[in-house]
Amino acid sequence: MGAGVEVQELGLVSYADAMARQLALLESRRQGRGSDVLLLLEHPPVVTLGRGAREENLRVPRESLRARGVELFEVARGGDVTWHGPGQLVGYPILDLAARGAPDLHAYLRRLEALLCDGLAALGVSACTRPGMTGVFVTDPLAARPRKIASIGVGVRGWVTWHGFALNVDCDLAGFECIVPCGLAGVEMTSVARELGASAPADLARRARDAVRAAFLAHFA
């Protein structure tokens, strides 16, 4: 359909700054200005509560998060609680779904999952989705517990999307310990680096960015 997408790679950005940037892009997109945008970035440690969040999925008191230097935000995205931090690739697509025809919120989630699966495949990680558990999991039928590698939480305002996905590339998975990620007990968090083990390339972060960017453009550009 030839819809262009401008990809902006921003490096490490505070959650508040990224939110402000998203809102500015969202508003101009809603007014029909600019093109669709994908922001690719990383956050300093932060815990965010989506609209589906239950307080008990925060495993530690709010104050102790602050003491650890972890910010906390309540945000207008779907989903429960999640953690972001260095080594995790965060993608915020600002897309006008209506302009792309037949907008469908669930279909949009499925496409985000599909592109993450494609990106992961390019990195050598076989990933899959699980019905009823939006997000991306590592394909490992012999594992006792599902391992989640990417999380999704989306907001939409007048058919323009914001928020998006977070792919654990090489982050400190201990960051997730203060929460029940996405409210899914019994799910383990994993990362690309952990899945690849010794075979992980030295420039994994860059490769992951390139793979996700390429997969995103293949699906949405």
Partner: protein
């Protein structure tokens, strides 16, 4: 005048949402397009904007409430008439809040299909005399009406279809005139009294042609494995009830076999391949064809990216495709692009059998019936005869691309995976 804001269409697959947060309260003045409420569905939070500028008269759904698409969310009094709208009997306009710019159109009302299609009176009379169902006639008249000429054309067509069969019967010739000369005499058959002639449906013809082509271009080799399904039976029994409660259909053995096949294909990419003129293509993606018998014939819908699905995901996909294959709701795309096929032709009187390869693939697995059999196992260091649920799996492979060793290796791996039965449900 007040406007009722309703939950808009959020996409074909979305039927309801949960009111997650009100952004306004009753009595608030709102601008047009100002977000009124956030509604969550799956992992999307959608802000529903106000369709007009005005004053929020009433919030009609509570936070946490699940509302259907089209259900009332709020009532907004028009800004210009905000004061007057309080009076009883004030008019209420209906609107479905727009999540899009421009506003989405209301769900189209599909006109109820009347049983009798429009037709001219003459056409109706001719049709009734000839005892033809008007619904089977293609209309060409104004406004989609069936005309007398349409009925006559339909009757002529019916006779033309009947004619060749008559000719065949008398002449003993084959249906297509062009084929007659080329067919050796021993292939033609003269119809006898009492024979029933069933013209091939287009699907039957396609299947027939495909079978012939596959056998001609591809040298099939068969190999069979005997599989002890005790582990799979155990896993299935343990999860049966919970699975059916969660998914609404019974968990069959097919997804287990498909799952093991997909895993083994990952290790033996040569079986997930196609043959080009002078090359073999091993495919990265595994798109699994599932042979389904329908009352109209054999179809093979494809589970795309079967390697990305969990066992439950595969079960869902197979169930969905099979159900839609039987109700003929598959799109043509869903029948294309398979890279390997599993066939489960039925449970009884089917020890094993070799399927014909679905071109341009290079392998097909066919499930035999699952029967309890006496087999020899080592029990406490001694050989003993025990009773186990046994299924035969027959692999047909294309010897142009695959040799015996990898084919047997692949089949053995499928067997191992099924016998180990480590499935994460």
């Amino acid at each position: 005048m007040a406007t009722v804001v309703r939950l808009p269409e959020l996409g074909e697959s979305v039927v309801e949402g949960t009111v997650s947060r009100w952004l306004v309260k009753e009595g608030d003045r709102v601008e047009r397009d100002q977000p009124l409420v956030e509604v969550t569905t799956d992992k999307v939070d959608a802000e529903i904007p106000s369709p007009i500028a005005g004053v929020v008269e009433a919030l009609l759904a509570a936070e946490g409430e699940v509302v259907a698409v089209g259900a009332a969310l709020a009532r907004i009094a028009d800004a210009a008439l905000a004061g007057a709208s309080q009076s009883p009997g004030a008019k209420v306009a209906e609107t479905t809040a727009s999540a899009s710019t421009p506003a989405p159109t209301a769900r189209p009302e599909s006109a109820p299909r009347s049983d009798a299609p429009p037709a001219t009176p003459v056409a109706r009379r001719v049709a009734s005399q000839a005892q033809v169902d008007l619904r089977r006639i293609e209309p060409t008249g104004a406004g989609g009406k069936v005309t007398k000429r349409d009925v006559e054309a339909h009757l002529r067509g019916a006779r033309e279809v009947a004619a060749p069969l008559q000719a065949e019967r008398s002449a003993g010739a084959s249906r297509a005139a062009g084929d007659v000369d080329r067919r050796p005499a021993y292939l033609s058959y003269s119809l006898q009294d009492g024979d029933r002639v069933i013209p091939m449906t287009p699907l039957r013809r396609l299947v027939a042609e495909h079978m012939v082509v596959s056998k001609r271009v591809s040298p099939h080799v068969g190999t069979v494995a005997e599989i002890d399904m005790a582990g799979v039976v155990r896993v299935r029994e343990a999860n049966k009830r919970e699975f059916e409660a969660a998914h609404g259909f019974a968990l069959s053995f097919l997804p287990f076999v498909v799952h093991a096949t997909v895993r083994a294909l990952r290790e033996y990419p040569r079986l997930n391949a196609s043959v080009l003129e002078d090359a073999i293509v091993e495919k990265r993606d595994i798109h699994m064809g599932i042979a389904v018998e329908t009352d109209k014939g054999l179809v093979v819908p494809v589970v795309r990216h079967a390697d990305r699905l969990s066992l439950a995901g595969l079960a869902e996909a197979v169930e969905d495709l099979a159900a839609r294959a039987r109700t003929k709701k598959l799109s043509p795309d869903e029948l294309k692009g398979g890279s390997f096929t599993v066939s489960n032709p039925g449970r009884h009187g089917n020890l094993y059998g070799f399927a014909i390869i679905n071109q341009p693939q290079v392998g097909i697995l066919r499930m035999g019936e699952l029967v309890k059999r006496p087999v020899v196992r080592s029990v406490g260091g001694e050989d003993a005869i025990v009773i186990r649920p046994i299924m035969h799996l027959a692999l047909s492979y294309d010897h142009r691309a695959v040799d015996g060793a990898p084919a047997n290796g692949f089949l053995h791996r499928v067997r191992q995976l099924l016998e180990e039965a480590e499935f994460d449900l």
